[in-house]
Structure formats: C-alpha cells, structure tokens
Symmetry: D2
Subunit: 297 residues, 4 copies
Amino acid sequence: MKNTKWYIEETTENEIILHSLKEIIYAGSSPYQRIEVIRTGNMGKCLFLDGKIQSSELDEFIYHEALVHPAMFLSNRPDRVLIAGGGEGATVREVLKHPVSEVIMVDLDEEVVKICKKILPEWNNGAFDDPRVKVIIDDARAYLEKIEDYFDVIIIDLPEPTEGGPSYLLYTKEFYEKIYRALKNDGIMVTQATSTSINNLLVFVSIVRTIKEVFPYVKPYIANIPSFFAPWGFVLASKSINPDRINLKEKLSKFNGFLKFFDYDTYIGMFSLPKYIKEAIKERGVIIRDNSPLSFY
Amino acid sequence: MKNTKWYIEETTENEIILHSLKEIIYAGSSPYQRIEVIRTGNMGKCLFLDGKIQSSELDEFIYHEALVHPAMFLSNRPDRVLIAGGGEGATVREVLKHPVSEVIMVDLDEEVVKICKKILPEWNNGAFDDPRVKVIIDDARAYLEKIEDYFDVIIIDLPEPTEGGPSYLLYTKEFYEKIYRALKNDGIMVTQATSTSINNLLVFVSIVRTIKEVFPYVKPYIANIPSFFAPWGFVLASKSINPDRINLKEKLSKFNGFLKFFDYDTYIGMFSLPKYIKEAIKERGVIIRDNSPLSFY
Amino acid sequence: MKNTKWYIEETTENEIILHSLKEIIYAGSSPYQRIEVIRTGNMGKCLFLDGKIQSSELDEFIYHEALVHPAMFLSNRPDRVLIAGGGEGATVREVLKHPVSEVIMVDLDEEVVKICKKILPEWNNGAFDDPRVKVIIDDARAYLEKIEDYFDVIIIDLPEPTEGGPSYLLYTKEFYEKIYRALKNDGIMVTQATSTSINNLLVFVSIVRTIKEVFPYVKPYIANIPSFFAPWGFVLASKSINPDRINLKEKLSKFNGFLKFFDYDTYIGMFSLPKYIKEAIKERGVIIRDNSPLSFY
Amino acid sequence: MKNTKWYIEETTENEIILHSLKEIIYAGSSPYQRIEVIRTGNMGKCLFLDGKIQSSELDEFIYHEALVHPAMFLSNRPDRVLIAGGGEGATVREVLKHPVSEVIMVDLDEEVVKICKKILPEWNNGAFDDPRVKVIIDDARAYLEKIEDYFDVIIIDLPEPTEGGPSYLLYTKEFYEKIYRALKNDGIMVTQATSTSINNLLVFVSIVRTIKEVFPYVKPYIANIPSFFAPWGFVLASKSINPDRINLKEKLSKFNGFLKFFDYDTYIGMFSLPKYIKEAIKERGVIIRDNSPLSFY
C-alpha cells in the first residue's frame, strides 16, 4: 500500500470505500451534521456530510449538470426556481446558466453554506452574489407550507434520507404533495434519488413509486457519478409536461451556457434505462410516507 | 461497523473497496494469478483474480450481456465466434443465445476454467458441454498467429492489463492487428476496456485510440457494472460495418433468447456517451504498443 | 497488500486492528453476543465475541496461565474454585493443573461453551469431562447471591464491560462485595482487568480502585498478550493473604504441571509495574458502581 | 465508525493497524524514506518513517527511557556516548540526564533530524543545543570504521531492518563487531530489537543470538510500548560488565533526573522475561550476517 492516510466512507452496511487522504481542509460539526472537506488523491477537494461524499472537485459538474439541466430544458419557461438544499452553491451556479428571474435556495444548515462559500468558492462561482438569488436558512418542508402555484422548477438537492439525518422527511409522499402545490401548472420538479446499484435499488424505485402517487408524469434517469462509486438515480416529474413528447435536440444545440457533461447524447443516455431497472421500477418499491419511511441504511 | 469480515480490493492506488465477506468459497493460486471465490454481503458469489473482482453472482449478467450482445446483434451473421479469455464461461453462455455454429474460447489459465466450472456452474450454465464450444488452453495471442479471415465475431474478455499480469500484451496495437487479420471482412470485435471513471480515463481512451489505428469503424460504449464500482468501458470495432447505420430495434424485438440487461433502450443508453468522455476520446489517449505499453496501475 | 481477506476489530474508537483472515470456521450469534471463530494469518484459530478477540490458538496459554496461576499458587490450599465466565474451557484446564477438589464454572452463554467444546477442543483439553468440574449456565452474579464463605479461589474471566454487553455488572463494587462474601477467609480472587495501554488506563485503574474498596490486599499485574495488541491488566485480591509476604520460588520450582508462560521470573515480571502505571493507580480511577458504571468504549 | 480519517500502518504481512487521524502535520520524503508527522486520536503527535510508527507524543518516554537508562545506569562511568540513529532527539535528551561529557549522534537522514527539531521540539527538549552534543549526518557503520576503544555507551536507535530500508546492515554480526571495537573495555551497547510478539519472535531472538556471537555478556529485555502495539525487545551487551551481578536499587534511588517510566521495579520487570521467550532465545534464532540477512517483513 503506497498511501498511508485514508478517508473511510461506509457507503452501505456491506461496502466501505477508502479514499486516499492528502489534506484535511476542514473538519467540524454543525448542529445537524458532521462537515468535512478533504483533499483526496483522485478526486481533489471533496465535501463529506456525516461521512458520506456529497461532491468532489473532479466530478461535481456531472452531478450538478445531471440534476439541474434536464428539468430546466424541459420547462417551458424556467423563470422562478426553488432549490431545496444545495448548500454547496453548485446547483445555483448551474441554474443561473438559464434565463431565470428568481432563485430561492432553502438550506437547513447555515454552517454548510458558509463553509462551502469560504472553502469551495469554485463550487458556487459567485452565484451567491447574483441579485436574483436568495438564500433562506430553513427546513425546506417548513418553507414550502406557505407556497402555492409559484415555482416553474423545483430542484431537490439533499443528502440521502438516512435515519436520524436531517433529510428524513424530504422523501415522503406528503413532502411531494407540498412540492406539487408549490409548482405552477406546467411546473417541473427533480430530485436526486440515491444509488441505483443492483443491490440497493429499493430506495430508488420507492422514490419513483412515491412520486408517481403524486405526479402524472414521472421520468427516472441515471447518471454515473464516479465519486459516488455507483450509477446515480434522479427523478423528474411534472404536472402537465410529458418529457417523452419533447425533443431537446434543437434547444440544446442553441444553448450558450458552457456545459461539460450535459449535451443531447448525454440526455438520451441518461433517460435510456437498462432493462432490469425498468422492470424493478414496474414491479418493486414501496410508497414512502411520513409515518412509514423506508428503513434506509 | 456491523460486519467484521471484509475482502479488501485495491482498485487503484488511491481507492480501496471493502466488500463484506460472508464465506471463503475458494482461495488458491494458478501459475498465472491468485484465484479467489468469495461470497460477499451484497454481491453474492464473486470471482477475484489477483485481488480484483472479475464478476459477481448479482450482476455478472450486466457485464456479460453488455460485452457480448452489441457485437453479436450488429454482426450480419454471428456464426463463428472467438472468445479470448472468458474463463468463467458466462461469455460463452451469452454467445450461445445466438445462432452460432462454432465458438472457440482461448484462455491461458486452465485453473480458472476448472474452478469456475466446478464452483460457479450458474455462470456457464452448461455452455462448456455444448458441442459447438471448444476450449483451448493457450495464450490468445499465440493462438491468433495461425488464424486468418475466419471469425465473424471476436470477443476479448480479459483482466485489466496490469503490469506483470497475464493480459499485458493483449491490449496493444500489434494484438489488434492480429484480431483484424483473424476476422472476416464483415467481422466485428469487441473488448472490455477498463473503467471510465473521470480520474482514470486515460486507459480507456488509449484503448479506443489504439483500436482506431487498426479498424475503420470504432464505437466505444459504457455500461454500469455495480460490482466494479465504476462505469465500465467497452470498445466495438469492425472492418466494414458502421454501427451508426444500423437500427437494432426490430432485430432486438424479435430476439427470443432471455436477456435481463440488454434491450433496445439499454443499447441506446450504452452508446450515448457523456460530453466530457466524447471530448476525452477526441483529445487524449496514447497508442499502446508492445514496446510502449501504458503504465497501468 | 498481499492479503485480501481481513477480520476488522475495532479495539477502541481510535484504533482498529486488521487480522488477515484465512478461514471462517464459525460465524453465528447467541442471545447474548455475536460469536465468531476465525483462522487468522498470524494467530491461528481465534475466538471473537461481539467483534473483540477473546483468545487465540497461538497465545491463549499466556492469557490463561497469567490469569490462573498467580492466584492458585498464592492460595494456601486451592481446593474449591469458582470460574465466572471462562466459556472456552482453557481457564478450567489451567485450574485442573492444581490439586483442586471442585471447580464450578458459571457462564451465561451456553452457545459459547458448546461451540468452544466442539470447535476449539484444544482449548479445554478434556477439562469439561473431569468429574471435579461442574458447568452452570447462569449469570455469575445471580449464582453468587446464594454463596457464602465457600470458595478458595474465584477467577473472573469475562469479556470487557462494554455498554449493553453481557458483562456490564460484573465489574462493579457491588459485584466484588458478593465475591468477598463467597470467598473463604483466606480466599483469593483474580479478574482480568482490560488493557493497560497508556491511552486507555482509566478502566484498569478504576477496576483496581473499586476492588480496593472491598478487599484489604489488592495487587494489580500485567502480562503481554500479543493477540490483544496491548499489555493486559489483571487484579488479584485477598481477604487475608498479602502477596508481598509470599515467596513463590520454591513452590514454583516443585510444580509439575506443564506450563509454557508462567515461571518464577514471569511472576516477578508481571508484578513489577512501570512507574507511570503505579502512579496512575495511586492518583487516578473512579469507583465503579452498579448505578454509575464507567462509560467504556 | 465514528472516525472517518485514518492512518493505515501495515505492521506485518498479517496485521494492519488503523490509527484515527486528526491532523497531517507533515508529509514528505527524504532520499532515504517517507517521513510523516501525524496527530492521531489516541497517541497525539506521531512520527512515521516509511509508514511505520517511530514514536508518539504519548508514550515516546517509555521507548526512550527503556532504551537509554539500563545501559547508562549499568555503565561504570557513562561519559562518552554514541547514538546511532535517534533522529528525533529524544534519545539524546535521556542521555543528557546522566553526567556525560560527550554525546555523538550519527544519523543518516538529515531531513528527519531537521523535521523533528522543527515540528517535535518536545522530543529533543533543547538537547541539540547542548554543547556536549554533536550531530553527524552519516551512515553509522561508516562512522564506526574509524573508531576504536572510545565510547562508554553505544545506543543503537534505528528503524527495523526492513529489506531495502536504510537500516539493513546495522543489525548484522559484522556491525556488532565494529561496535565491540569502538567500545572501551567496560563499555556497554544497547539496541532496540523489534517486536517480541509470539508470532514474530524470530527477528528478536536472532538479534540476541547474533550479539552473543560477539559479546560475552548479553541481556535481552522487553518493554511495552503501547503505540507499537506489541511488547518491544531490546538487547544490552557488554565486554566485561555482567548485569546480573549489579544491583541498581541504590543508584536509582539517588538519581535526580526526572523519569516517568523507569525505576527499580520497572528495571526488574523489563529483565524478567516470560518462560516461552527465554526458551525461544535458547533454542531458536539465526546469526544475521552481511551476506545472509534475515528476510524481515
């Protein structure tokens, strides 16, 4: 073993990833979670919350472009955008590549927002200073109570719903109903939806199934995030827009925001799911409710 | 930590994966490599060669369907097939779902073939007893010396070309020239082509570039193999068939071999590469030659 | 890394030991604890309870001779002996090298006793079949309620008092009072007393201090148990025998039970504590009571 | 697992220790070895050379007192002292507690000396500024070529003789012959002598046997160094002084240098070896020569 210093990430009960550790840039805790910024040997600067990687210098562009652009491009007019979570600021950064007039970001953990602003400025790239952006420190669910028929796009960028963690109630049917209400009639939501590893599909397909209880048009998709060591799931949903009827080829070819991951091919690739995952979506999964949440790792 | 027993896989110098270990089914060595069959907590039975996972009970179907079927479906007439490597027998199993008349499998390591036959019978599913199948214990490169204009499809299913390992010279331009010669005029080859992780792209794009030196039509593609913890690369190449001109939709819909991973969507998804990988293929990579091999991990 | 299979033992919050794993001989659970018998690369067969090593083929003789013989040799007449715990049977084996008439072994976990009998027969070496030995499956504390002025030697051979584990209340002042009552007037007790690592001394010195609350003569001692990766503490105590006034040289030279670890030099060495440990014993430690147990790791 | 950041130390092929890692104070390389200073969760600041712990803030006093004081107290007149190795400066610090007139320290690796001076000033405690101390950057063996009948005490404080490491030839019969020649007639040498773990005794007993080929009076002894996770061996040897005939009780009681580990009890304890180690010393071990060194891990 050439390296001696390692960051140990327990991804599931049965899998542990060791990242070679080059520098401890920050290690601390907020009232909600442990926060660590580590320079690793192959991913550069990485943000870990409660011991789980959130994004890395090397491939955060993949996660954030995959999360943001499908919904933004499929929207008729992505004008008013809500981001639930997104403390690193990279989701806002991507959203601002579109002609929005207002971006509200609601994150529970002020500490995460502060540390990312200070230590990971490349992540947000000045987005927090844009006059269209407003950051609210609050629980996204509490914030949504007051909102109705307002947003064009809602982007849910939260850690996995680990038991006892801060995101527990932001993956339930009751939460998605609030999202539904907060969206305009042609609004679109998208959420990160955990790993789609074959030994771990239940959470992903349950999120899909739960959202289908609330929205008429639901499209799961997958992107490879190397630093997550797994194909990563996302779910897009809309009240009235059917993504299958929309061809983004022309819209994407005219887009002049600089993108590194997302293009037309990538879009097609992400939405073309392998057979066994399509079948798991059809056959498996449970509805996640406030009072019967999935027992996640 | 709930589990106490782990299999430690050093995937790169900067990354180590721990798989929870439930049973040591076999542990030994051949003259060529260490061979271990381990039951892990989330992947079931797994074959490791020289400490690197080769395939797992849970998702070997993904790897083997991804490796075999694109070439077999794109072939005009997949009649005579060569498999270089493939000791587990699962590649033969997939090949036999097509109307072949002859399958030659050339594997260096008799021990691997024997152990897989005995311990992993589900992998080959009786394929070794099929009268169309012939197993030759030899170096694939030595075997190819004698072959010209014979095979319709050549499938290269070998471990990564680690320095000092047995597959070192089976990823070079000189080797691909022998493949070219051994194929019929409308022949197709496909090779596994290592991880396409963003921090590890050089090997993949160098394999693509090297094959492009030899074949006119070259198509890289990617499938997620969860047990490999990375998006996995493959390269398909042909002397005269241009995959871009072929629509497999109808052919696939009529296929009656039972597949779990591969279907038309999956095919489209695998061949739709993300923007940054397409650009890496255009701009980066070196030509791998016998006397200037890549310095792999 | 030459080895791929490891047993991971979290010894403290800040230290983890990996033992190379050659064979999983047994892995299961009783109502009280996880039980694993593992063949490791450098210690041979090892018994782990709740993920902590209890004894190893290679050096269990050190632990068991260190635990048993000082008390047995210092006793005026080691006739009736109680072993609390000791499920492996090796403590009984050592006790039977002395001229005892009765050995009672009280162990909570029938499963451990059964598995050790079956899988680790060298540990007990037939001791369970000796007519002088009686095994009682019970909580040692409950058993002691009924006993008064009976035993010559009481040997406490229990796992560390981890919170929630089965040995929690067998290291408190209240428990030692029961031991005191159960011993004859010249009786001697001995207990294993956890690691004496400099970063971990508090538990050891608290056990010493707690026993000093109950017994007039208390002698801590230390032996190196390589498979425990630490110098290991023991505490011997007596109602009326002062070990400092006894010279075992002659008694030991006449002893004809075969011993591998213990002799006169070893005895002197074990009872000659380093300066900083003697000072820690004088100055530090708390009294462990049923209602204020130490918060062990 | 509460900690996420770990230092991984491969102590032997079959054992790995993980130390929780709180801060990377220094990480670099000299021409001779990798040098790392790490703050760990339970040992404070630790120096690692080539991935092996050399000393820790918490218990370096144990190692250095154990190494230095037996030889210094047994010497008739510890006036001129040579230290081979000892780059941290703690060995010099202990030597200076005795009435020496000259201390020569010969260390190969200037980088280690510099870094320890700067980062671990508590280790040397100003010893390098003492006018009696002279530091020579050289190979200890080359230095000794020129010396004859000069030193009262020679202290060998070097890393383990791993193959290819810098200390390879400083544990051979030929080296000890140079030590013999460099000592005065009543001179004493002492060397650290690796782990005495039962599964690893061969190196220790071979060092003992090799020194017995050269010196008439040889006394092995053992101290527990918690951060080494093993009972640690030392060997003391003399041309004419028989330690068994010397009673240090009075000398030690008068000593006014402040010691934390070493006292009369500790001395007795260290030199009272367990039976199985005494027997291993009698029966096992090979003579280490320049041209037939032990194949250490």
